[in-house]
């Protein structure tokens, strides 16, 4: 046989076999499905009707996304009914069924579709706060569901209402894969954005997103003080200009502003403040000695200020020291301030005690009514010659070879 004959023979064989097979199946099939529907609405009573030999004991196995079960038949003469249980018929999706107990397999499937009208809108908005400027965004997710908690069908229209400052917008989106969602990019200004959604006449409640300012930009600082003297007893206040972000929004309250102060010898002092309505205020006590301060404020890593230079004038030029009671009581004072008044309480006076050029001890005391006195205890400082260095407000005085007895 040539090739064409072979092909023809094979084709004939195939046709014959398939026709005969169908005939056999038709002949031997016990049940035949009578119900026609392929789509049912969730929640409706779904009954599959069959015609056939009711003497055969059988059950229907059915399964959908919720679970699977066996259903017993109900017989009316030669008609056999299978009622899908409610817990399966209320869930949308494909339901597969199969009659078990038959010699020939009999199976099929149908689809349960959601109801047309929504009864609830499941809505999620997050994150609840975003940064102004257009790059940060939040997301609104709406899931319209029917009263059986089935998401509505694909491409259900969802209308999104959005209010921000003067603008009110409305946009229509459609559900896809059960949900409808929208990215909401931040506007340039700060404020509160209100959102709601509507599906086929059903409205959601109100949701809000806080649009917070972005990071700060450079700013200016100022200082304020009662006088310019370094008396260690007044407060200098530093304030910033109103700090804004790149879109001219005032930065959020509570921003932490560092004020770094570089003093005359290059040491770094610091104070800080948190912003209220864009202005940060920081306080520091006056130094108690002559100083030149360079102050610069920072929101670290993000913004900085101009450099502010302030000077503190010397208030203590000189002070007196008296050694009494066997030189064991050292009285320092009166310590006078810039107008000749006694220095306010609390200025530090340090006495360094040396024996044979070696430092023995340093005692720091704070002044009371312009005076400080040190008692040199006999049991600690034996009788003999000592050197003393007394300093306050960076003014030093030394006393050589004082004999204690």
């Amino acid at each position: 046989m040539n090739f064409r004959n072979q092909l023809f023979f094979l084709f004939s064989l195939f046709v014959t076999c398939s026709v005969t097979g169908q005939e056999i199946m038709k002949k031997k099939r016990d049940f035949v499905l009578i119900s026609k529907g392929t789509h049912f609405v969730a929640g409706s009573t779904i009954t599959l009707e069959f015609k056939g030999n009711s003497a055969i004991s059988c059950e229907m196995y059915c399964a959908n996304s919720y679970g699977s079960t066996l259903v017993k038949p109900q017989l009316q003469g030669a008609r056999i009914f299978f009622k899908i249980p409610a817990y399966l018929s209320t869930k949308t999706g494909v339901l597969n069924w199969r009659i078990v107990g038959l010699k020939q397999p009999l199976f099929g499937s149908f689809k349960i579709v959601p109801k047309e009208s929504p009864s609830a809108l499941e809505t999620y908005v997050g994150p609840p706060s975003i940064e102004a400027g257009g790059s940060d965004y939040s997301m609104l997710v709406v899931i319209p569901t029917d009263n059986l908690d089935n998401p509505l069908r694909q491409d259900t229209p969802v209308s999104i209402q959005q209010q921000f400052l003067a603008s009110e917008k409305n946009k229509l989106i459609f559900t896809k894969n059960l949900i409808a969602f929208k990215h909401i990019f931040s506007p340039l200004k700060t404020g509160r954005m209100l959102l709601s959604s509507e599906v086929l006449g059903l409205n959601s409640k109100e949701y809000d997103i806080n649009v917070m300012p972005a990071i700060a930009t450079n700013f200016n600082i100022y200082s304020n003080r009662n006088h310019t003297y370094a008396d260690g007893n007044q407060i200098t206040t530093f304030t910033t200009s109103i700090i804004k972000d790149k879109n001219n929004n005032t930065i959020s309250d509570g921003n932490f502003v560092y004020f770094f102060i570089t003093n005359k010898i290059g040491d770094l002092l610091k104070t800080s403040g948190t912003t209220i309505a864009g202005v940060a205020t920081a306080k520091i006590i006056h130094p108690d000695y002559e100083e030149n301060w360079n102050i610069k404020a920072y929101i670290l890593g993000m913004a900085e200020s101009n450099t502010l230079k302030i000077k503190y004038k010397k208030v203590i030029a000189n002070f007196e020291v008296a050694f009494i009671k066997n030189n064991r009581k050292v009285t320092v004072g009166p310590i006078k301030s810039f107008m000749g008044q006694l220095i306010p309480d609390g200025i530090q006076v340090k006495i360094s005690i040396y024996k044979d050029k070696k430092i023995l001890n340093e005692i720091i005391k704070s002044s009371r009514e312009g005076f400080v006195s040190f008692n040199l205890n006999q049991s600690i400082y034996k009788n003999g010659e000592y050197d003393f260095k007394i300093s306050t407000a960076k003014v030093h005085k030394t006393f050589q070879s004082i004999t204690l007895w």
Binding site: Q234, G254, G266, L268, I276, M302, E304, K365, N377
Partner: protein, 1029 residues
């Protein structure tokens, strides 16, 4: 024979109930153990057959304590609640004890009158009063009481061989075993063996007519004859002791007590630690101590010989570490687990019949005549008054000991705490109580919520607890630095234990809670402060437990009550008859041995007089010694010690009286000056050690160097002070130090502050929080992070910034890995970080990897342990990689930032400076975080300093910080690819919020220093506000 009621015994029972009953309601709940037993009882109310209790110690088994007493309370609680059950059982224990002593005394003395005397004395015996009213050891009392009931039955079994007695004695042994595990074991040795001995001796006496003629051979012969009965009883009772509480023994075998021994006063040397001597020796012995010669004399007479041996052994074992004998006898392990006070308790009970006998002889018997004849009536009466007075004094003193030396904090109203735990699903997390004392057990009994702590230390399971000599976390300040160290581990890694809430009844712990990142909630109406930790996951709904076989559960639930019922069936009729004499019964077998011919010997009376004299001299001397030590102003040392003690106990007025009256300080001025100084040392420190060295001494003036050690919740503080004391008249006084005179510039001033409030749930609902009420986690950025090795331990260091617009509470969790990505260690940042960050604020951080200290029990606990010096984890492999997880949560508390660094003086070893408080709150504990940088301005280490004094508003405070020495720090890894913020990669976050970070800002805050290893430091300030207003 005439049927008579035993009037004496009935009177004694009535007196006992009236006396103890009226006191019980004031004492029992503040005793050491009663509430713990109540907690166990509560367990059986809900889970009769389930031994696993999840409320304490992350779960433990109640099979670690015999159940009968707890189950009885649980049963009775059905009628009138748990406390009704507790008190009812306590009343039963009193009755059982009195009748038990009566029966035992009757057995020993064979005389009903004397036995009644003994029972009467037992009511008032200080050891019983102490055990019930101070210790609250109800199971122990019931155990010994039932054992005393069993003794006559055992004796009768041995003598008569009637099975009735075997059954009744065994049923009582079973009840004893199911009430208290230690009592039957030692009871066998100390009570039952002597009874066996006595029974055999009595039998021998019956054969030969008098005890004098009983010799060793006869004794052995009779012993052999009786051996069957003895062996059968012993074997069966041992089987019962094991069998009735078999699950207990199995549990002890499976979970042996491998913990570090917890110090107990009964193991102290009573001569060194006199307070332990008082509680565990003088009080339980009380007036019995004077009668020791009589007891020994009588116990070593032939009939009681075995009791004599037993009594001597008990006396010796009860002396704790005063002599080395108990340790040798018991062995190191048993010595460290047992509380030895029970031996003294038993010894005092054992001697009660003889005490009764002595009293009887003294009041109506031969001793009365003898004494009156020898010394006259007056002496006799005086002696009587002395003994009665002393006896009453000891009883009343013991009963009211809790009043003189409160062992417990004041009674806490639990209802607000219970309401808090029930609200808002707060019981989904574990809690911890601080400063509640034993009342924590009562709280646990009333709530479903669980705690990591507990009050039955034998059942502890977490190695963090068992490796430390800490009874409870609860009172860790009393267990010194080891306790604080243990507590700190729980506070630092609370998510490991799902620990979210702490109820604090002691402000001592406040600073450590704050610096470990906890925050305060509003105070409850009962004055309890609640601390909360953010970012702790709730407990899982399924908790692991150790399963035991069902037969064990059934046995545990059924056998104890069964034993009780059997004991009732076997014994109640005979007990009833004994007391009420309802029907005629022949005298019990042992009643024939009453010795009518006792006469007091001169020698004994002399010995007793000498002994009493010796005791009196010792007492007088101790009192004199106490007077010398307590006479606060007799010597310079005394006045200093008293002054510091007064300060430590915050008795400020008392401390003022030690101040030199000529120093022109008025009391009001003094009180003001003390009151204004708040801070770690003044408000949160406990004096640990005081060492006084006299530098210079004249007749009227002394200068002293005073070295003090203070335990604070944060670290150990050592201070050296110099003080001068002067003599005015006969008393010494302290010359006061000058106080800081810094005065603030402004009288009244204002600051504007940003404050926050988080609504939590906007809608009141029992459901879980609505998603729209959940705030976004603040965004943080890890600016730098690296793994470094400092000396021999590893740490993660770096800097973190809050780049969000809201304040954040931060939790840092570091994990170390080796090259093969095997996890080696995991830990949280403790106090080397500012836990609360304002928007854009930066903090340096360091995570130490702490091991569980002294995991190997062989490791000796360092004497000088400092809670700040943690035990680093012993790494078996080299950590090379790390993972850093940072979580932020919006926080609205503890955001005080108004602390300025206003002056600096730096040299090569120290940084001195001035801090200035510019805000509106008083800073209680200021903290400095000092970060070290190398010459390329890379962070290499983070250190800290707590200032010992607080800073009032607008005041300055000077500090001095010693720079680190030339320590070797090696940077192991600075790859930041495994850094995560709120679960998201750090890199993505930083590029989104701060895309153009100004890099140079991270180095501008650096202070140059002159140091061989480090080029710069950065100083950051953090402050704890003790009393926010």
């Amino acid at each position: 024979m005439k049927k008579t009621y035993n009037r004496y015994v009935i009177t004694v029972i009535l007196v006992g109930i009236a006396f103890h009953g009226s006191a019980l309601f004031f004492t029992l709940e503040s005793s050491y153990d009663a509430l713990t037993h109540l907690f166990f009882a509560e367990h059986y109310v809900d889970n009769w057959f389930e031994p696993w209790n999840t409320k304490w110690y992350t779960g433990f088994t109640v099979m670690s304590y015999p159940p009968l007493v707890h189950q009885s309370i649980a049963l009775l609680s059905i009628i009138g609640g748990l406390k009704f059950g507790l008190f009812t059982v306590a009343f039963l224990s009193i009755i059982l004890f009195i009748t038990g002593v009566y029966k035992y005394s009757l057995l020993i003395t064979s005389d009903r009158t004397i036995a009644s005397y003994a029972a009467f004395l037992a009511v008032f015996s200080s050891s019983f009063v102490e055990t019930l009213h101070i210790f609250g050891q109800i199971p122990s009392i019931i155990g010994i009481a039932v054992l005393l009931h069993a003794l006559p039955e055992i004796y009768l079994w041995l003598k008569t061989g009637r099975y009735r007695y075997l059954c009744s004695s065994l049923s009582l042994i079973a009840v004893t075993a199911t009430s208290h595990h230690v009592t039957p074991i030692f009871g066998m040795v100390f009570f039952i063996f002597p009874i066996i001995g006595m029974a055999v001796l009595d039998l021998s006496k019956d054969q030969v007519g008098s005890f004098k003629e009983v010799n060793f051979t006869l004794f052995i012969k009779n012993f052999k004859k009786q051996f069957k009965r003895i062996a059968s009883f012993s074997t069966l009772s041992i089987l019962l002791i094991i069998g009735c509480i078999l699950p207990y023994w199995l549990n002890s075998k499976n979970n042996p007590i491998t913990q570090i021994p917890i110090p107990h006063g009964s193991r102290d040397n009573f001569l060194e630690i006199t307070s332990s001597g008082l509680i565990f020796f003088l009080i339980p012995w009380g007036v019995l101590l004077f009668l020791w010669p009589y007891f020994f004399y009588r116990f070593f007479s032939k009939r009681y010989l075995f009791f004599g041996l037993s009594f001597s052994l008990l006396v010796i074992l009860g002396t704790g570490a005063t002599t080395p004998i108990p340790k040798i006898l018991l062995g190191e392990n048993a010595f460290n687990i047992l509380t030895l006070d029970r031996f003294t308790f038993w010894a005092s009970i054992m001697s009660l019949p003889l005490f009764g006998e002595f009293t009887h002889r003294f009041m109506v018997g031969d001793l009365k005549k003898f004494t009156q004849r020898r010394f006259g009536k007056l002496y006799y009466r005086l002696l009587g008054c002395f003994f009665v007075g002393l006896f009453l004094f000891m009883t009343i003193f013991t009963m009211s000991l809790g009043y003189f030396r409160p062992s417990q904090p004041k009674k806490i109203k639990m209802l607000p705490i219970l309401n808090f735990l029930n609200q808002d699903q707060h019981d989904q997390w574990r809690y911890l109580t601080l400063g509640f004392g034993d009342q924590m057990a009562w709280l646990s009994a009333q709530t479903k919520a669980m705690t990591v702590d507990g009050n039955y230390h034998s059942a502890r399971r977490l190695p963090e607890l068992t490796t430390r000599p800490v009874e409870r976390l609860e009172n860790s300040k009393f267990t010194g630095i080891a306790g604080i160290g243990s507590l700190q581990q729980f506070l630092t890694t609370p998510e490991k234990y799902n620990l979210k809430y702490i109820f604090s009844n002691d402000k001592f712990y406040d600073p450590i809670l704050y610096f470990c990142g906890w925050q305060r909630l509003p105070q409850l109406e009962n004055g309890i402060l609640i601390w909360e930790k953010l970012n702790v996951p709730p407990l899982t709904s399924f908790l692991t437990k150790e399963e035991v076989a069902t037969w064990q559960k059934i046995l545990w639930g059924m056998v104890p009550l069964l034993a009780l019922i059997l004991a009732f069936i076997f014994n109640l009729p005979s007990l009833f008859v004994t007391i009420f004499n309802t029907k005629f019964r022949p005298k019990a077998n042992y009643r024939q041995y009453h010795n009518h011919s006792l006469s007091f010997s001169k020698g004994l009376l002399k010995t007793m007089h000498i002994w009493t004299g010796l005791l009196l001299i010792t007492i007088m001397y101790s009192l004199y010694d106490l007077y010398l030590k307590n006479n606060s102003q007799r010597t310079p040392e005394n006045v200093i010690t008293s002054y510091y003690d007064a300060l430590d106990l915050k008795e400020l007025e008392k401390s003022f009286y030690y101040i030199d009256p000529f120093s022109n300080v008025s009391i009001s001025q003094y009180m003001l000056e003390i009151a204004v100084t708040d801070g770690l040392l003044n408000s949160y420190a406990k004096l640990d050690a005081l060492e006084i060295l006299i530098l210079k001494k004249t007749d009227s003036l002394v200068t002293l160097k005073i070295a003090t050690n203070w335990i604070t919740p944060l670290e150990k503080v050592s201070k050296v002070n110099y003080k001068t004391v002067v003599k005015r008249g006969k008393k010494w006084y302290i010359v006061p130090n000058q106080l800081d005179s810094d005065s603030p510039p402004d009288q009244l001033y204002s600051n504007n502050i940003t404050k926050y409030f988080n609504q939590g749930r906007k809608k009141i609902s029992t459901e879980q929080t609505y998603h729209e009420d959940v705030l976004k986690q603040p965004v943080l950025e890890i600016i730098s992070a690296k793994l470094v090795k400092f000396k021999n331990h590893f740490a993660l260091i770096g800097e973190i910034q809050n780049i969000d617009n809201v304040p954040a509470d931060i939790v840092l969790k570091g994990t170390l890995y080796n090259d093969e990505s095997k996890e080696l260690a995991i830990y949280n940042a403790k106090y080397h970080v500012k836990h609360k960050l304002m928007p854009k604020e930066i903090s340096s951080f360091r995570i130490n990897f702490e091991g569980i200290a002294w995991t190997k029990t062989a490791d000796a606990i360092p004497e000088t342990f400092n809670p700040d010096e943690f035990t680093p984890i012993a790494f078996e492999e080299q950590p090379t990689n790390f993972n850093l997880q940072v979580a932020g949560n919006v926080s609205n508390s503890d955001l005080y930032k108004d602390l300025a660094l206003s002056d600096l003086k730096i040299n090569s070893t120290t940084i001195k400076g001035t801090l200035f408080n510019s805000g509106l709150q008083e800073i209680t504990v200021p903290q400095l975080l000092i970060s070290y940088y190398d010459k390329n301005k890379n962070i290499v280490w983070v250190d800290h300093l707590f200032l010992k004094r607080g800073i009032k508003q607008q005041r300055k405070k000077y500090f001095e910080y010693a720079l680190l020495k030339n320590d070797s720090i090696a940077i192991i890894n600075n790859d930041m690819s495994n850094c995560f913020v709120n679960g998201l990669p750090n890199k993505n976050i930083s590029s989104k919020i701060v895309p153009n970070r100004i890099k140079k800002h991270s180095t501008i805050a650096l202070q140059k220093i002159i140091h061989p290893n480090y080029a710069y430091v950065k100083i950051e300030m953090n402050s704890y506000i003790g009393n926010p207003n």
